[in-house]
Symmetry: C2
């Protein structure tokens, strides 16, 4: 399993992923699910992946090598805008689906992958997309400024309640870590360390990248602080008077 979350706020984009992969409960490994294109002054793009690791790594390899799209060979490093970038990721997913899908199906396995693509390319605004295993995609909007892939349920309530498009990047980082912490506590197949990337609108490039381990002082503050904050918040609520 996996948990990845992306936020699109006014100040920019935040991308956070875990690193646990597993083939059965008894075969657990650590792989980064974050792939980055960082060309300062031109573009910063972050791709987060969930699903079959053989599929998602192959998709990234095709995106790095370049694929034929709209009649030309294209890479995330040189597509002209974010809509093209999302189309290119979708095209790479479809390419791997055509290549590996029949063999997977013959083994009774589904073609299982999903991806978040966030970034900004010179001349455009920051945009955040969720690409499905069919290669089609949706985009985060003013109404719904976050997108998730993988084990999304445990970490969704806090985002539903607190996040708005006006949330700052710094607040957004705290929020994604709380959302991730709720997921880590409840689903063993999501695991540390974490990969974080932040893109500040207009700064064309990745402004912050951080590998967050168990020892990370700020993450520990969030983890311990959120648990006690939740308990305090609950303690402060009134109690029912109808229980006899």
């Amino acid at each position: 399993m996996t948990y990845c979350v992306g936020l699109r706020v006014e100040e920019g984009i935040i991308m956070l992923s875990d690193t646990r992969t597993n083939a059965g409960l008894d075969n657990i490994s650590t792989f980064s699910k974050m792939f980055v294109v960082d060309q300062p002054g031109d573009r910063g793009l972050v791709l987060l992946t969930a699903g079959n690791l053989a599929i998602t790594q192959t998709v990234w390899n095709f995106l790095e090598a370049g694929i034929w799209h709209n009649g030309v060979q294209q890479r995330l490093h040189d597509v002209p805008d974010m809509f093209d970038a999302a189309q290119l990721v979708g095209a790479a997913v479809r390419l791997v689906s055509q290549k590996d899908g029949p063999s997977l199906a013959a083994q009774g396995l589904s073609f299982d992958c999903s991806m978040l693509l966030g970034g900004q390319i010179d001349g455009g605004v920051p945009r955040l997309f969720l690409i499905y295993s069919a290669g089609n995609f949706i985009e985060a909007t003013e109404d719904t400024p976050f997108l998730q892939i993988g084990e999304h349920k445990y970490g969704k309530p806090i985002l539903d309640r607190v996040l708005t498009r006006q949330t700052s990047l710094i607040e957004g980082v705290a929020l994604t870590l709380i959302s991730m912490d709720s997921t880590l506590r409840s689903n063993l197949s999501v695991g540390m360390p974490l990969d974080l990337a932040v893109i500040r609108a207009g700064q064309l490039g990745i402004c912050t990248r951080r590998r967050i381990t168990e020892d990370d002082a700020y993450y520990r503050t969030i983890r311990d602080g959120w648990s006690s904050a939740l308990r305090d918040a609950y303690q402060a609520l009134p109690r029912p008077d109808f229980v006899v």
Copy 2:
């Protein structure tokens, strides 16, 4: 879908269920998923059900009418103890599985149901069980004092963080309503009104039953208060200093 939760704390047992059923997104109805045996001075039992409504209603009808179990005709109204009560529910599930399973399978439908059974019978302690569609079951323990069926993920983090065996009945009611509220906000197939039942240890019978509607003053306090408490708790956490 459904969300039902049961708590087994030192002071007794709390059972809470939603009432939404659906056959597709365009066919939504309200059915109570709570079935009660209340014989003051002798026993109080509460059964919460999730899954195919045709299955769970039939299970309850068999439990009301009595089924052959351990060589005698038994009902939840007269089983000698809670372990027998859980076995009887499991036997009723297996009976319906034998009766309806093949026809469901012929239509490509699985035999889908799960149940929570909480209660106390004279001579024993309060106990809480989760009965699976195979008729087998597990029991809540000191380590894990709550059990859930249906859409359990959204409402689990708060229980994981706050609930202990020492939580009072009154606090437990507040907790289950917070857990339910998180689920209601995130999953449209879980819906109001709610059914609540509380069993106080030693009081042999149901001490509190309540149908909680959208207009319920206490539920509105929890719903609005929890949202703002979460926002306040989040506001009080420190912000990262590594975002540049």
